[in-house]
Symmetry: C2
Subunit: 368 residues, 2 copies
């Protein structure tokens, strides 16, 4: 079991464990953290079928009662309605117990569970057990929790860190390849923004990763966790400008997800469009040389587009842009690459240029 720490002020630092053992280890680990007598485990039907029995037994052996709670595996589960249902369920069993939460699932489960943990009785402990590559390399680390409102994705949320993150590589064996690719998009992001070595590793080992080669997965998960933990340690609440670099690809990506109503694109596919867009903007502005642009866009082709053409409305994506949290004081701020392993945060990008690039992308995604 490898350990990487997210270093925060006071006693709020926490470990990310990367492992390939069975759940017994998780039972013992959680027992050592003395979080409580009862685990309220938020998960989805698919994950529940695969792992609930093992996890229940592992917790039982360590004197912890399990209460499983299933949500639908879709962005709709990040609604206020589901949030209230979950909190109400928790309060109904929270009598004469010491409860903690477990997020057993991907980003949707983690975001909802984290926000519930942040706000139920003003905060109770929770553990992240990410079951997708995307959640293991990104969303389970860093304490960003949120739910959606009709007027915007992640519009309400909180910074609230888990007590520990438990990333088990074995859980990825049952993950559909499209989900592996979705997580891989964030891994490529880390390469471009901070880590040329990781980028080269991805260039060389693409096929092994897509074949779920154990050691390759272990390497990219460890390296990504290390990078995410480092960025969060330096700029926990995105107030110093540094955590902003994690938004590379996400400005256009989020607008695309909003315009597309989150229906038929994975997060990785959306931010891939965003990363390609940002690379092209950097290139047009003379910030990125052609050879690096070529390597970046070539690697990003790993994250294939969905085979069916989309129907993205250009106007909807431009509208969504103006609601983005990164749209500050009416200026457009974007993270742009200058070489492999380095990005800058640029303010005042001309909207005309962004529009031109988005137009081109939308044409490609819509297949015309």
């Amino acid at each position: 079991m490898k350990q990487i720490d997210v270093i925060l002020t006071k006693s709020r630092s926490y470990p990310i464990f990367i492992t390939d053992k069975d759940f017994s280890e998780l039972g013992e680990t959680i027992k050592n953290f003395t979080l409580g007598s009862d685990a309220f485990i938020i998960t989805n039907a698919n994950i529940h079928k695969l792992y609930a029995d093992d996890l229940r037994k592992a917790f039982n052996r360590n004197g912890i009662q399990s209460h499983f709670y299933k949500i639908k595996d879709s962005e709709q589960s990040k609604s206020v309605t589901e949030y209230i249902k979950t909190v109400t369920k928790i309060s109904s069993i929270d009598v004469k117990k010491k409860l903690f939460l477990v997020a057993l699932g991907g980003g949707v489960v983690g975001d909802l569970c984290g926000f519930v943990a942040a706000t139920y009785k003003r905060g109770i402990p929770y553990v992240q057990v990410p079951t997708t590559l995307l959640a293991q390399v990104d969303s389970s680390i860093g304490g960003k929790t949120a739910i959606d409102l009709p007027s915007g994705k992640n519009l309400i949320g909180a910074f609230f860190h888990p007590v520990l993150v438990y990333s088990n590589i074995n859980l990825l064996k049952s993950l559909p390849i499209r989900q592996i690719k979705s997580g891989l998009a964030e891994v490529i992001k880390y390469g471009i923004i901070l880590d040329p070595k990781l980028f080269e590793f991805l260039e060389k080992n693409q096929q092994k990763i897509l074949n779920r080669d154990h050691d390759s997965l272990k390497y990219i998960i460890s390296q990504s966790s290390r990078i995410k933990a480092y960025v969060v340690s330096v700029d926990e609440k995105e107030t110093k400008g540094f955590r902003t670099i994690l938004n590379f690809g996400h400005t256009i990506g989020h607008a695309l997800e909003t315009a597309n109503k989150y229906s038929n694109l994975t997060h990785g596919e959306a931010i891939t469009m965003g990363m390609v867009g940002a690379c092209e903007i950097a290139s047009e502005l003379g910030l990125l040389r052609q050879s690096d642009l070529f390597r970046m866009t070539s690697l990003l082709q790993l994250i294939k587009l969905p085979e069916k053409a989309l129907k993205i409305d250009l106007k909807a994506i431009l509208d969504a842009f103006s609601r983005d949290k990164k749209f500050i004081h009416g200026k457009i701020r974007m993270v742009l690459p200058t070489r492999i392993g380095h990005v800058i945060v640029a303010d005042d990008i001309p909207f005309k240029l962004i529009k031109k690039i988005i137009q081109k992308q939308v044409r490609i995604y819509n297949g015309n």
Copy 2:
């Protein structure tokens, strides 16, 4: 303008200003904090009628646009429905602006506004402008924010501090006397838990305070703010056991509020019952001598009972007890006074004793 600081780690410390000037001063103060271009001001109809024009002008003179948002002045405004309505309204005007929130009102406005500020876009700055004595001496300070669910009062919330608290004594001139008394209950609480001098001041100056004597109000607000700020500085998130002393009177008090469906009792009236109950429990356990019990219950008689008899259901209040956040691991924890200016946090209070005391109180409140 007197300043008292709430000292917190990192750059999160913030001032409480106690003043008797007009709103011009607030406009300038907020400008100096450079919080943003637009103030979203949550308030109620009554306060809006009295102060909105003055505040708008003061903000205008300092280059800040005002957006007033009125909620009903009742616990029902701390519902999820009102919370979502408020956030949706904010997001609809939050385009190309830098927004901050202002809580202009009492505890309900402050709790809702604080929780919105804590969770909208994972946290935006807010200012507390408390307009009741209760909010000035207690709820506006310390960062506890929350809303209610049908299954419990304050069941969801967050610790999230304002950027500043602006307590203006002039605002209390329009406050009904019953609301003055409600705030006074918390002031008496500070005397009992930590400050014998404040307690003696209250014994001597009861009538002046009820007559809204300017200097007396200024003294009790300053002293209460100082005590609350101190307790919060030592134990921000109630994890060290010290902040718990602020719960003196609140264990029985909250149960009473829940059982009574918050309809016809002020918070001060409810916690007065709680404080009298806790004093009697301490006395029965031999922790508090008769002479101190007499002084405490005598002073607490300042907070008169509502004239109409209540219809509190003994079973409902005992049920509510078991859902209290202070009911930990099936044991009953209560704050009990041992002398004027000193309390202890006692675990394992026999439920039989609590039941006996509550029974007596309920008989008195129900008038039979």
